[in-house]
């Protein structure tokens, strides 16, 4: 179960180091769990994280670690770290595992830009490796950012569903506008005080067609941490991990462009296994937290998980079914688009808050939350 969560302030420029941010978030999560640092015996971090587990252990005063692991492939580690921690606890490898992500994602290395993929050598700009975007089969052709890669998904989706550009923009805009509205009542959101209308959305600068600036998440400085423990460790109300899994299919690491169908971020088998493991159907989900590096990922995920029929997401979205009072509220914290971007771990925390009935935009009676990202998924329920 998840017994505690913690986050730092999200900003465009933090004065703290990444280690300092990590320490603040983990301390907040341990306090939330009513645990001391000496209770921790495991860390699971993102492979992308620049904070080492060893330095974090020393900074927090954790006497002994029995589990330490990293989860690869970017944002998939948001749910992926928690899935690993829960599995390790079930297997008896550890009893209190902290998942964390700390990043200076706006003032430091920006994941939305290409500098991280390229090196300057002898006056030339060099790319290496085969990753997409940024590797030797992508960067020389100018495929340099996740947004450009996801734009390829969006155009293919529109083609497959015979959706014209205006309808596609309305659907994607409905995600951006609704999530920005949610963020106006979230005190942590970096976009609080800056609401967005559909007119604003449509007037937004085109970044990589069909994606506009408002289709992209808000790079941020900040850290988040989640404490996973065995049941009944905490005296506080906790979130129960009903089901958790990681998932990789050929060429889905990290952003699919080579699989036959680039409009599916998971497989039917993965989704079927998840709902079978949890013994529920998609209609039992009260709130969905969907990894929204860009809006198109939300649209595709709604169909992947059976919340809409194939091709049905645009209508679902333009009807506002993802908004307050809709069939399935999605990202009520504002998501990575509007709360800010701690590589998705902040969204995992929103899922925990929802089932603990303490979210800023609480979905009434949220007993079951789906938290999903390309590469991993969590189903959280109310403890007890």
């Amino acid at each position: 179960m998840i017994s505690g969560v913690g986050m730092t302030e999200l900003s465009s420029h933090s004065d703290q180091s990444e280690l300092g941010l990590a320490v603040s978030a983990v301390r907040a999560a341990l306090e939330d769990a009513e645990l001391e640092a000496d209770a921790v015996d495991g860390f699971v971090s993102y492979s992308y994280d620049r904070v080492g587990i060893g330095p974090l252990q020393r900074a927090l005063g954790v006497p002994e670690l029995r589990l330490f692991a990293e989860v690869p492939y970017g944002g998939g580690a948001s749910c992926g770290t928690v899935a690993q921690a829960a599995a390790a606890i079930d297997a008896g490898l550890a009893s209190c595992v902290v998942c964390f992500r700390a990043m200076k994602g706006r003032s430091g290395t920006r994941l939305g830009r290409a500098e991280r993929h390229l090196e300057t050598e002898g006056g030339a700009l060099i790319c290496r490796g085969a990753r997409v975007p940024g590797g030797v089969f992508a960067a020389p052709s100018g495929l340099l950012s996740p947004a450009q890669t996801m734009a390829l998904w969006a155009h293919r989706y529109a083609y497959d569903q015979a959706l014209d550009r205006d309808r596609l923009s309305e659907a994607l805009g409905a995600i951006a506008v609704t999530q920005r509205a949610y963020a106006q009542t979230n005190p942590r959101a970096v976009t609080r005080g800056r609401p967005l209308s559909m007119e604003d959305y449509l007037a937004g600068r085109m970044i990589a067609s069909p994606l506009r600036v408002y289709d992209l998440c808000r790079e941020s400085d900040g850290a988040a941490a989640v404490v996973v423990t065995a049941p009944r460790r905490s005296s506080r109300r906790a979130a129960r991990v009903v089901a958790a899994s990681q998932h990789l299919f050929p060429y889905s690491d990290p952003l699919p462009v080579y699989p036959p169908d680039i409009t599916r971020l998971t497989t039917e088998r993965e989704v079927g296994d998840l709902f079978a493991q949890a013994r529920v159907s998609p209609s039992a989900i009260d709130v969905a937290i969907i990894y929204d590096a860009t809006t198109i990922a939300v649209l595709l995920t709604l169909e992947d998980y059976g919340f809409c029929p194939r091709g049905g997401a645009p209508e679902f979205l333009t009807d506002g079914q993802h908004g307050p009072g809709g069939l399935l509220p999605v990202n009520p914290h504002g998501g990575l688009l509007s709360e800010g971007y701690v590589h998705g771990l902040n969204s995992v925390i929103e899922g925990v808050r929802q089932v603990r009935d303490e979210a800023d935009n609480q979905v009434p009676g949220a007993g079951l939350a789906l938290i999903t990202v390309r590469g991993a998924v969590l189903l959280l329920g109310v403890e007890g």
């Binding site: 006056g123 030339a124 790319c127 290496r128 030797v136 020389p140 100018g142 050929p250 060429y251 462009v257």
Partner: protein, 172 residues
Amino acid sequence: MTFTAPIVPDPEGLSAVYWDAAQQERLLLQRCTRCGQAWHPPSEFCPFCQASEFEWIDATGEGVIHSYTVAHHAAHAAVEVWIPYTILLVDLVEGPRMIGRLLDAPGEPAIGTPVRLRFERYSDLKVPAFVVHARGGSSCTARRRQRRRRRGTGAPIQEHHTRVSPRPCPGQ
């Protein structure tokens, strides 16, 4: 047109074989000698049947647009000179999918449009890219390939090239 390439690949292993051939304006694909399927990007193992026996084949360079985006924002200063530019995913007639720029058609292309390989030539680097396929036309690359076919199998493939000659780039 001659540019200095903004971003130079530094490939390893089989990727270096691919890039060396590209400098001879050849687009190489691997084809499994067990199951017969072709693949890209390069890999030691067939992604279809996992065999490790393969041969390199010259792609025809013909394909159709699987998807695209027009980049209006430079994700790195080095590509500002290109803005706006079109990135394609192309399904080659041999089966594999690859990434390349669309060179000759400004604006938004249509998915499903036939395209043909044309190497983008910088002063010291050639990068596989595409042009919209004009029926009945014959690109320079296609003519060159035909000449090479008449001569034989083309230049031998270098196995141990480590770097595609980097040069200073203006975007720095």
